[in-house]
Amino acid sequence: MELPGNEQLDATFAALADPTRRAILKRLASGQASVNELAEPFAMTQPAISKHLQVLERAGLISRGRDAQRRPCRLEAKRLAEANNWLENYRKFWEGSFGRLDNLLEEMKETNNEIGN
């Protein structure tokens, strides 16, 4: 299921807001894994992990294989990249400002020293 623009981004960020789900994504970044394999390092029950996987799947961050027994989970890099793009735009917004602020602060420190000493 594809959600339109902002709604998709909301689902993605809501999914990313949980530390267990972020840890699952990190694990999947190094290759696909089954629910059992994912449950192991987290000391969580399989149903608990399955719930997290459902949220991630709905957000488009992972996909599940069709193999009925194993249903391996795979990271959907595109969705994560979209979330990253969004953050990148926000970062750019501030980076230019802060670069100029660095220069201004240098100037202020010098003036401050002259007055102080």
């Binding site: 990190k26 953050l87 750019k92 501030w94 602020l101 660095d102 202020m108 401050n112």
Partner: protein
């Protein structure tokens, strides 16, 4: 350990954005640069934009207002009210854009260590839609969907 100049952006919840940045200056100077209109005019705004109007009534209940002008002449107005002020350390203020509905509350905290100052600005939006609108306003969408950037993002998610 303090990594000067690296801006970190995280989204701890779906209604918040947190900026973290270390400046190589004591907190009182960073505070001054964030609250003095004449100083704000010299640095505030994304690349190519300048602050044409900057009014700051720095007291609890006092208003602030900025108007930014873009390279193509577009103007963008924003403003709000100060809710909390601890000089040199912490401010809480509301923020809204003229062209977008909804308020956000910005909590800015300055922590000084060895002459360097860590700025943590937490923006809390009343809705996810407002947060998205703020970010998308006047900003182009990058298209690159590379694994390089994915690799960059993953450590920050920890």
């Amino acid at each position: 350990m303090l990594n000067t100049g690296t801006l970190k952006v995280t989204t701890p919840t779906d209604r918040e954005i947190v900026l973290t940045r270390v400046f190589d200056a004591p907190a009182h100077l960073v505070y001054k640069a964030f609250t003095d209109p004449e100083l704000l005019k010299r640095w505030f705004g994304p690349h190519g934009w300048s602050l044409t109007l900057c009014e700051v009534d720095l007291r609890v209940g006092g208003a602030w207002r900025y108007v930014l002008k873009g390279p193509d002449g577009t103007t963008m107005g924003m403003g709000g009210v100060y809710q909390e002020i601890v000089p040199g350390q912490r401010t809480v203020h509301t923020e809204s854009f003229d062209d977008y509905p909804g308020d956000s509350v910005i909590t800015t905290v300055l922590t000084e260590h060895d002459g360097k100052t860590t700025l943590t600005a937490t923006a809390r939006y009343e809705s996810k839609e407002v947060r998205d609108a703020v970010v998308e306003s006047g900003m182009e969408h990058g298209a690159a969907e590379t694994y390089d950037r994915l690799a960059e993002l993953l450590p920050t998610l920890g």
